[in-house]
Amino acid sequence: MVTLGRMIVFGVQTFWRNIWLSLVTVLIVTLNLFLMSVVLGLNVVGQQTLTAVKERVNLSVYFTATTSEDRVETVRQELLARPEVESVDLISRAERLELLRRSQGQSNLINAAIEALGENPLGAGLIVTAKTLDGYNAIARFLQSDRYETIIEDTGREFETNQTVINRLTLIVGRIQGASLWLTLLFGLIAVLMVFNAIRVTIYAHREEIGIMKLVGASDAFVRGPFVVTSLLYGLLASLFTTIIFVPILTITNPFFSQFFAGYDVNILGYVQQHLWQILGLEVVVGCGLSVLSSLFAIGRYLRV
């Protein structure tokens, strides 16, 4: 414990004695962590958007007006029995009519037409939600089979339009994910190189002290330990600074995001506030991990013990 405590003290001393080098290193690692956070944030936003859009997708099935309620219920049960189906909601004939009226703004023309017909011309409907996006194709094929041809009016057209939008969105999100992976790697590499260089310079500045440590019987771990502690400090401070600047910037830009994602369940600031500790923990793990990794490379390369 005494040795570990001294390694920490020596590491902090090394950080402090090379304060300008330490500050520049922390600043650049902070910048890279921030950019990594932004890129990963974009990734999360893309995923959330895709999820929000996917949640809005469903398949509407409309029956002919002559189809009995029992027959509709039978089709509903058959759909629920399929593995790809998540839920099936029934819309009665009256509910469909009400929805039509509401969508047309209580138009007199609609009311007049219905009165002329003397009865509700709409059949019942089913709103089918699949477990996955791929499931809709199978459900649509199932409903287009001959046995339902006479009772179902129209199936899947709305879904096909949504499918095209989703495919495009999936493609974009996929590309964002790919680009963000490379950008994250690039910024991570820059952070690693910065810490590597800082530790290399620090080792050079302390070569005399290292030589004396070895002469008086310091173990390898004791010689190397303080440099690892110093790099941990770089990572720790950089991750703290990143989190500290990330939240206010997000707060300022949040109205823009809210406007952009109006109508969708995408709340970036809320997400960050809800997961603040996890985000801070992730920043610390990534920041410290990269710093320690690069310091170990530098120590292995330049510190012969």
Binding site: V2, T3, R6, R17, E208, E209, G211, I212, M213, K214, L215, V216, G217, A218, S219, D220, F222
Partner: protein, 247 residues
């Protein structure tokens, strides 16, 4: 990790080790690159409590001998036994244990300029994992032994060369070594300071520590009237019990 005393140099349990010598070189050969001979077929036995001067001209192998004792260099042939511990093939992780039990003094002092005299001596104990309380007790005692108890808070550049070398000796004594290796400790000092350092080494030797003094200072060697091993081109050409500087 501190090697258990019973298995380290100067072990208290004897076993099958040769405890009658502090340093044993058996037909030791050390060749540097380009066939540059450091030492060749050197056999030396230094007994506990001896004060041995190793003399010779530049390139004779004096410093190689000192470096081999502290495992800074490895032998090509032969065996080296320090305090009963065969260090010929000492493992890398065992070197710190060896060095904590041998005091080393160098010509260029090797003090840390940003640390006070107290901190410089304490440094040797800190890296070995000694408790802070123990360090606070031991370091002033060590600085008192070398006559610097009044200057413990000064920095190396605030004291003379002779005083700096005394600090180095205090640091070398921090682990209470049975063996002290001094490689040209007076090389950077004037005659008066050099005499003081030698007096200090003699005093340490009188308290039972074996001293190996590597030097090319003729006056000092002749004044000491102790054992002198003379090296020339990596060979021992003389080993006198109470000798003089031959070359």
């Amino acid at each position: 990790m501190r090697r258990p005393l019973s298995t380290g140099p100067f072990a208290t349990t004897v076993g099958n080790r040769d405890e009658s010598t502090v340093v044993t070189f058996q037909h030791v050969t050390k060749i540097y690159q380009k066939k540059n001979v450091g030492l060749e077929d050197v056999s030396i036995h230094i007994e506990p409590g001896e004060f041995v001067s190793v003399v010779g001209q530049s390139g004779s192998g004096k410093t190689t001998l000192a470096k081999l004792i502290i495992a800074e260099e490895r032998v090509d042939k032969g065996r080296i036994i320090i305090g009963g511990w065969d260090i010929t093939h000492i493992k890398h992780h065992e070197v710190p244990t060896l060095r904590r039990q041998i005091g080393v003094v160098f010509q260029d002092f090797k003090l840390l300029p940003k640390k006070s005299l107290f901190e410089n001596v304490a440094f040797a104990l800190e890296v070995a994992g000694q408790s802070t309380r123990s360090i606070r007790t031991v370091v002033p005692q060590l600085l008192k032994i070398v006559g610097l108890e009044q200057k413990i808070d000064r920095y190396p550049d605030q004291v003379s060369g002779g005083e700096q070398q005394r600090v180095v000796i205090a640091r070398a004594l921090a682990h209470r070594p049975k063996l002290l290796v001094a490689d040209e400790p007076t090389g950077n000092l004037d005659t008066i300071n050099a005499q003081e350092i030698i007096s200090l080494l003699k005093k340490i030797n009188e308290f039972g520590t074996t001293v190996v003094l590597v030097t090319h200072n003729r006056e000092i060697v002749n004044m000491l009237r102790k054992r002198v091993i003379t090296l020339d081109h990596g060979h021992v050409i003389a080993d006198q019990r109470s000798g003089k500087y031959l070359l």
